[in-house]
Structures are given as C-alpha cells and as structure tokens.
Symmetry: D2
Subunit: 137 residues, 4 copies
Amino acid sequence: MFTTRTTYRTRYSDTDQMGVVYYGNYARFYEIGRTEMIRDMGYSYKELEETGVFMPVAKVEANYKKPLYYDERITIETSLKKMPAARMEFFHTIYNEAGEVAHTAVVTLVFLSSQTNRPVRVPEYMINALSKLSDLE
Amino acid sequence: MFTTRTTYRTRYSDTDQMGVVYYGNYARFYEIGRTEMIRDMGYSYKELEETGVFMPVAKVEANYKKPLYYDERITIETSLKKMPAARMEFFHTIYNEAGEVAHTAVVTLVFLSSQTNRPVRVPEYMINALSKLSDLE
Amino acid sequence: MFTTRTTYRTRYSDTDQMGVVYYGNYARFYEIGRTEMIRDMGYSYKELEETGVFMPVAKVEANYKKPLYYDERITIETSLKKMPAARMEFFHTIYNEAGEVAHTAVVTLVFLSSQTNRPVRVPEYMINALSKLSDLE
Amino acid sequence: MFTTRTTYRTRYSDTDQMGVVYYGNYARFYEIGRTEMIRDMGYSYKELEETGVFMPVAKVEANYKKPLYYDERITIETSLKKMPAARMEFFHTIYNEAGEVAHTAVVTLVFLSSQTNRPVRVPEYMINALSKLSDLE
C-alpha cells in the first residue's frame, strides 16, 4: 500500500444551510488527496499534464458516514492498493477533527493522451516511483 | 418507475482547465434532478425541511462516460425504481446536448429528524404522492 | 440602454450555513446574466471564444442589500449603459422572488486575443447587434 | 495597520476552461484571508458566531490584475487600515507564486445579531485584540 495524508480546514464556502459541508464539495477533497499523493511521487499533476497526459475521473463511489462541520481541521488519507495500469484507483478516508472516519471514497481515474484523446497506459515515472516508495504490485 | 426530466445549461463556472465540466460539479446536477422530482410530488424540498425533515446524502455511485462541455444544454433524468422507506435511491442519467448518455449516478439519501437528529421514515405525503403518480411498490 | 432578464432558482449548493446564498456564488449569477445577454446579441459566448476572443473579468463592484434564500426564483437583470469599446461594463440587478432589489453589481470585462494574449477591441458583430437592438452610443 | 498573510495552493476545481482561476473563486480567497486574520485576533469566526454575531458581506470591490494558474502557491495578504466600528473593511492583496500582485480587493462586512437580525457594533474582544496587536485607531 502507498499512503499520503494531508490536512484541510473546512471553510464557510464549503458549508450549506444544513450547517455541514455540502456533499458536492467532497470531490475537491479527493482532488487534494490525489494531487498531494502524485506530488509525493516526485512529479506534480501539473507536470504530468505538460507531458501530454490527462487524468479524467471515470468513477466515484462515496460513503458519507458523519457530517463535517465548518472550521474543522480534517485529514484526507489517500491510498493506492495496487500498481496502476490502465486505471488508477485512489482510496480516500476522510477523518474529522476528532479523528473519526467521516467519509470514505474510491475514485478511479484513467490516463488520456491530450494529442489523441485516447487512453494511454500509466506513465513510466509513476511505476518507477511507486516501485521505489512502496511494495505495490 | 417514476421519472422526472429537467434541463440545465452548463456554465463557465462549471468547467475546469481540461475544457470540460469539473467532475465535482455533477453533484449539483443530481441535486437539481432530485429537487425537481420532489417538487413534482407536490411539495418542495424547502417545505419538507420546514416540517423538520432533512435529507442528507448517504452514498454516491457515479460513472463518467463522456465529458460535458461548456454551454451544453444537458438533460438530467431522475428516476425512482422502488418506493422509498428508510432510504431513497435516485437514479440519474445525464444526457449531453446530442442526446447521448454522458453520465449515470445512483444517489442514496436518508431522512433525518431535525429535532432528534435521528433517522425517520419517509414522510407520508411522499408515499401518497408516489402511489398516485406511479406504480412503484 | 440594452437590458436582458433571466431567472434562476437558487439551489442548496448555493447556500452556506448562515442559511443564505454564499456571497461568492453571486459571481455565477453575473456570468449567467452576461452570457444570456451576449446570446441575445445573436452569438453565444462560446462562439465568441471560437473566433479567438476571450473576455476575462477585470473588475467587480458588488453591493449586497438583502440576503437570497434557498429555492428562491431570482431575476437577474443585466444592462449595458454605453457601447463597449476596449471594455464592456455590465450592470446587474438581482431581484429576490418578492421582486425586491437584493443585489447590484457592475462587472467590467476586457477583450483578449487568444493568439497574442493582448487586449483587442470589441468584436464588430457586437457593435452591429447593439446598434440594431438598442440606442446605445 | 494590522496584517495577516496566509498561503493557498490553487486546485483544479478553482480553474475554468480559460486555463486560469475562475473569477468567482476569489471570494473564497478573501474568506480564507479574513478568517485567518480573525483567528490571529484570538477567536475564530466560528466562536464569534457561537456568541450570536454573524458577519455578512455588504460590499466587494475587486480588481483582477494578472491571472492565477493551476497549482500556484499564492499568498493572501489581508489588512485592516482602521479600527472597525459598525463595519469592518478588509483589504486583500493576492500575490502569485512569482510574488507579483495578481489581485486586490476591499471587502466590507457588517456585524449582525443572530437573535434580532439587526446590526450590532463590533465585538469588544476585537477592539481589545486590535488595540494590543496593532496601532489602529
């Protein structure tokens, strides 16, 4: 497994009139989680795009377990459970400030060539980085 | 089955630098779909909240099939496949302007009492409305 | 003067935990207003971009007079008071469902060539359309 | 003058298809700036609300000078130039990663009692904190 943890403070803009974080805003939390994980592999997602590879989201499966409130310091934990190939599956667990699991999600991304707009395989540098940094297979 | 259709024009604010609708903005489309469906049942979601019932989202399963572009007139089709009880499952299909299926999602909501913050059963008026308007069981 | 009116229903995603529309979401309302105005001139903003002209926002001056609530049918009134040249000034008045002025804003946009990334003058078709449709000078 | 600086990394969700941060997302940056400033005064905005005081935005004047791009580490500098009374004026300067001024804004907030929904004066603790921390008059 390869895991990255990052923190985020919830903002007023994240809330809705139920007094909790709007369910649609969790997608931004997944984005923060996977972006910081990719940065940990040695390249930013921005650099990845500059090499002509885009990573659109193909699938989201999300479970809302506890509400998140305004001004909470949440922790976004992001894990890979297997080496990416045509797809890359990110497992997210979001902890509230009390350390409880508030949310889990599995987000699947694919790799697209910006030139052909066709699927491509995972970039070599990611495989290399993950081979060094983890025991993923 | 009980189905509602509503249209929405994608805005610049919906897009990201990939030139398509940001994946996190689809949650607003589901919200539009289910709100208009609830309105079709004779009460608005706003009125529902005024009776002390909230409907937080418990689960999202979403499949991104084709990108949506700026200034597209999309159609959000929302269906119920069974009578809600403790939970209410909304099936969404989003069509792009060309009429192709661009996205599907199943979004599960629960009913909460705003007084006790505990789960409650589906409001009676919904059952009555759905009995009249559909053949749901 | 040249004026366009369009309506919008506020959504849960627009609100924050103060129980009103989040102040940052009004920018989307201005966008809706000016986009529909440009469409009324005979070209969509999308088509404008396809001719290589972008319109970034240069300035916003906004006054929040009354809150907007969830599920209100608001009216976005957008006006031009003079013929655009290097800049285009949109005057927005947002009415709540009761017809009261809830918000006013002046939003200034400039015209940029996507090729040179330099300012350009207002496209000729806009001048022609506005000459026909209004008494702007 | 009393000044707070905080940093923020722009996200994909912040961008639009022009390839820059969407103009409507700057409101969140002002919110981050003023929230961190209020925290620097010894109370969080959350605690302020718990004492029954809300701070809705009354006015925004914003100037967009340079675009902000994806994955930039921006600095949000927030200043008070005079002691707040019935209103509180926040002066924001946003620097891009290269340290250039990309944006300035003045955002005016008022104090409202949540009980009466009427304007109230600035909370005493803010005056006390600002008297100690700054030379504001």
